[in-house]
């Protein structure tokens, strides 16, 4: 006769909770055993991955292939069945240029203008976004008065819809907006910020930084808080200057987070559309017309839409994003290897 093991206190409640869980496990146990018998142990991995792969296939791969198919067709019809196969004509039309630096020499000049604008936007916005996010994260990591409040303040714009962000800044920057009202109050002449090519471009960069900086600051702040404090204490005892501590301790240890932020910002910058579309509509002229807006206008907003050309442009943009993602993966792996060697 076995002696009963004494139950720990409170186990009655734990047992009660486990009853439905066991019941559920029991229900799926029999079918899963049957599946395992049929597929074998190795096949079970594929079985569990199947739902995820199905979702990925339906919502990512399938649209990609449909989009690719559209890029090989011409005409204005929406359904693929009604469209004419034109091979790589749409790509040839996009690349028909005598000088890629001069959009006016291209058949699809607006596409190349949008490519140029997007490239400039990415360079400026990514650099400034990283810089501001890092500086903000460093400041918010210090012992500040009302630190939680400041963290919330910087994060708040992230919660806003891009359309709201665009509208708010439009009301500030337009001819009869708040900024001109304030300037006028101080005796300055009002200025049409959004009608000036350079200011409109600067506004597009600035507004997108304002809207998204909080998110990246949060990622960097999490990275900063994960750096052991004793490293700084040891450096301080050795008489290391704060700037040197930043370059030698903070930055290297923050690098994994920084890499994630850089790639996320890059991808987001290439895809820029919503807030800038509301803010400037791509103007003045085409000075803030970016690639996504070009695709949207070509595929949906113009009279006699050209879904094939829009699809070709989006495939090209997708390729750029794939390259950026591969760079992220490559950098991530190399930093992992370095970390494991150390």
């Amino acid at each position: 006769m076995k002696a009963e093991t004494p139950r720990p206190a409170g186990s009655g409640f734990g047992e009660a909770i486990m009853v439905p869980v066991r019941l559920a496990m029991g229900l799926v146990d029999a079918p899963l055993r049957w599946v395992q018998r049929k597929l074998g142990l190795g096949g079970m991995a594929a079985f569990f991955l199947l739902p995820n792969m199905l979702i990925f296939g339906i919502f990512v791969l399938l649209p990609f292939f449909i989009n690719f198919a559209y890029s090989m067709t011409g005409g204005t019809a929406l359904f693929l069945d009604d469209r004419t196969f034109v091979g790589t004509d749409q790509y040839a039309r996009l690349f028909d240029c005598s000088n890629y630096i001069d959009p006016n020499s291209c058949t699809e000049d607006t596409f190349w203008t949008a490519v140029g604008n997007t490239a400039w936007f990415v360079v400026l916005q990514v650099t400034l976004m990283i810089l501001f996010s890092l500086v903000t994260a460093l400041i918010l990591n210090r012992e500040l008065m009302a630190r939680s409040f400041w963290r919330a303040v910087f994060f708040f714009p992230v919660l806003l819809s891009p359309v709201v962000v665009g509208l708010i800044w439009k009301w500030i920057l337009q001819r009869q907006g708040l900024l001109n009202f304030a300037l006028y109050g101080f005796g300055f002449e009002p200025y049409t910020w959004l009608n000036d090519r350079n200011w409109a471009f600067a506004a597009a960069v600035g507004v997108s930084i304002w809207a998204h900086m909080g998110f990246y600051t949060l990622i960097l702040l999490a990275g900063l808080q994960a750096i052991p404090k004793d490293l700084y204490e040891a450096a301080e005892m050795d008489g290391t200057r704060p700037a040197r501590a930043f370059w030698r301790i903070t930055l290297p240890l923050l690098m994994p987070n920084l890499l994630v932020v850089i790639v996320l910002v890059l991808i987001r910058a290439v895809q820029i559309f919503d807030e800038v579309y509301v803010l400037t509509g791509g103007g003045p002229g085409t000075s803030t017309l970016y690639l996504t807006q070009y695709i949207y206008e070509t595929g949906f907003a113009t009279q006699l839409r050209n879904p094939g050309l829009a699809a070709a442009a989006s495939i090209l943009m997708g390729m750029v994003l794939v390259v950026l993602t591969l760079i992220q993966l490559g950098l991530g792996r190399s930093s992992e290897k370095k970390g494991s060697r150390k």
Binding site: G75, Q176, N195, G281, G282, T286, L289, E297, Q303
Partner: protein
């Protein structure tokens, strides 16, 4: 078990009743320039009281939704049951033929026949809908600013140059930011183009390259934007063919002369009130004519509707003479209905300025050129308008010289014609 069966039965009954309710739904996509959405809602409430089996759902949307999202829905074989649309001809393959469905097709032919061709495929006798309003493009002058500046408002035969000169004088005298503005719209730009002798339609019925008439006005127009005579805000404020109006600048007293159209009258009447005096001026003259453009918004039935009979009942009701009369009088819109026009209208406004403006636009209808009357029924009109807006605004923003913009306009239009496969 019995409980489960009862619940399932209740659920099934619920589903059935909700499906039955859906069968009588008629959804209307509607945009408003002024108060017409509210007037329509009132009229439809009365309709639903008379026809309890039909539930009309009014979706008030912005004009850009009608221009940009509705076409995609239609291409996908989807969309509302009825829609208020301005791009009527180019999308006519999506409209439902109401001829076999309406109570009296002859009534429709008699009263709306003049514009029927604007909204049906070429060569058909389809009844697609009716014009909720006939619009005529034309100008508005801020009379108070003219009076304060001591400058006489140019007369009936004044040219675009006369207006530009007078508006500049007033703006300078009254420290107003903009002498003139013209909506960012190819339709609006086409009025003066036609007055300068433009003809968009080639011998084969397809778009012709821009001619000297168009070039002459476009050169003037871009020059006026560059020297500040014409508001830069409106034309360079977006890329592509996005529509932008300058109505708010006029309402705020920031503009001396505004070239838009008759649909602004109720808007101005409501929003300007007694803030300042304003007058409608018709269209300024060019070397060829003094024409504006005609057009308007049509209410069309969509052929993808699941309830064509109910849709026809709603359309019959809204096209009724007494309803059209009430709608026009309350919205201050010019109706298309011949019977209503013949019997006259008593516009419901105490605003003498609005009354005078409406009369001015009715008079301006007499000076429309033949081409201006033809363009609303021309398949390629919107294609030309879109290309004009896109490229002229680039020239206005200083991105390319006008010559190159004109070359691009022709190339864009040719590419669109080729893409269409027609």
């Amino acid at each position: 078990m019995t409980k489960t069966r009862t619940m399932l039965a209740a659920f099934a009954v619920g589903l059935l009743t909700s499906t039955a309710a859906m069968a009588g739904d008629v959804r209307i996509m509607w945009y408003s320039d002024g108060v017409e959405g509210e007037v329509l809602k009132d009229l439809l409430n009365r309709f639903m009281k008379e026809n309890p089996g039909i539930n009309v759902i009014l979706d008030n949307v912005s004009y850009s939704v009608v221009r940009e999202q509705l076409p995609v829905q239609l291409e996908a074989g989807d969309g509302p049951d009825i829609a208020r649309v301005t791009n009527l001809k180019a999308q006519s393959q999506h409209w439902l033929d109401l001829r076999p469905l309406v109570a009296d097709a002859a009534y429709w032919d008699t009263n709306f026949g003049d514009q029927a061709d604007w909204m049906r495929p070429d060569g058909s006798n389809q009844i697609s809908g009716f014009m909720t309003q006939i619009t005529i493009a034309g100008g508005f002058a801020n009379k108070t600013l003219f009076d304060q500046a001591g400058v006489a408002i140019p007369g009936k035969d004044a040219t675009w140059d006369d207006w530009a000169k007078a508006a500049r004088q007033v703006a300078e005298s009254q420290q107003v930011p903009f002498p003139m503005a013209l909506d960012r719209s190819g339709h609006r730009l086409s009025g003066p183009n036609l007055s300068y002798g433009a003809n968009y339609i080639g011998a084969d019925g397809k778009p012709a390259p821009l001619d000297e008439g168009s070039k002459a006005f476009l050169e003037k127009f871009v020059g006026w934007i560059a020297d500040g005579t014409m508001s830069k805000d409106v034309w360079v404020s977006a890329a592509g063919s996005t529509y932008r109006a300058a109505a708010d600048d006029f309402i705020n007293g920031q503009l001396v002369y505004y070239y838009s159209g008759s649909w602004q009258v109720p808007n101005f009447s409501t929003k300007i009130g007694s803030n300042f005096d304003w007058v409608a001026t018709g269209s300024p003259c060019g070397p060829a004519s003094c024409t504006g453009m005609t057009g308007g918004a049509g209410l069309v039935a969509i052929k993808y509707t699941k309830n064509p009979e109910d849709v026809a009942k709603v359309m019959d009701y809204l096209a009724r003479e007494d309803i059209v009369k009430e709608f026009s009088e309350r919205t201050l819109f010019l109706p298309a209905h011949k019977g209503v026009l013949a019997k006259g209208l008593d516009f419901k406004t105490d605003d003498a300025q609005a009354q005078a403006a409406l009369n001015e636009f009715v008079a301006a209808a007499g000076s429309l050129s033949d081409l201006a009357r033809k363009l609303p029924g021309w398949h390629w009109a919107d294609t030309v308008y879109g290309a004009l807006v896109t490229r002229v605004s680039q020239a206005a923003a200083g991105e390319m010289p006008l010559d190159e913009a004109v070359t691009r306009i022709d190339a864009d239009i040719q590419a669109k014609v080729k893409d269409s496969g027609l």
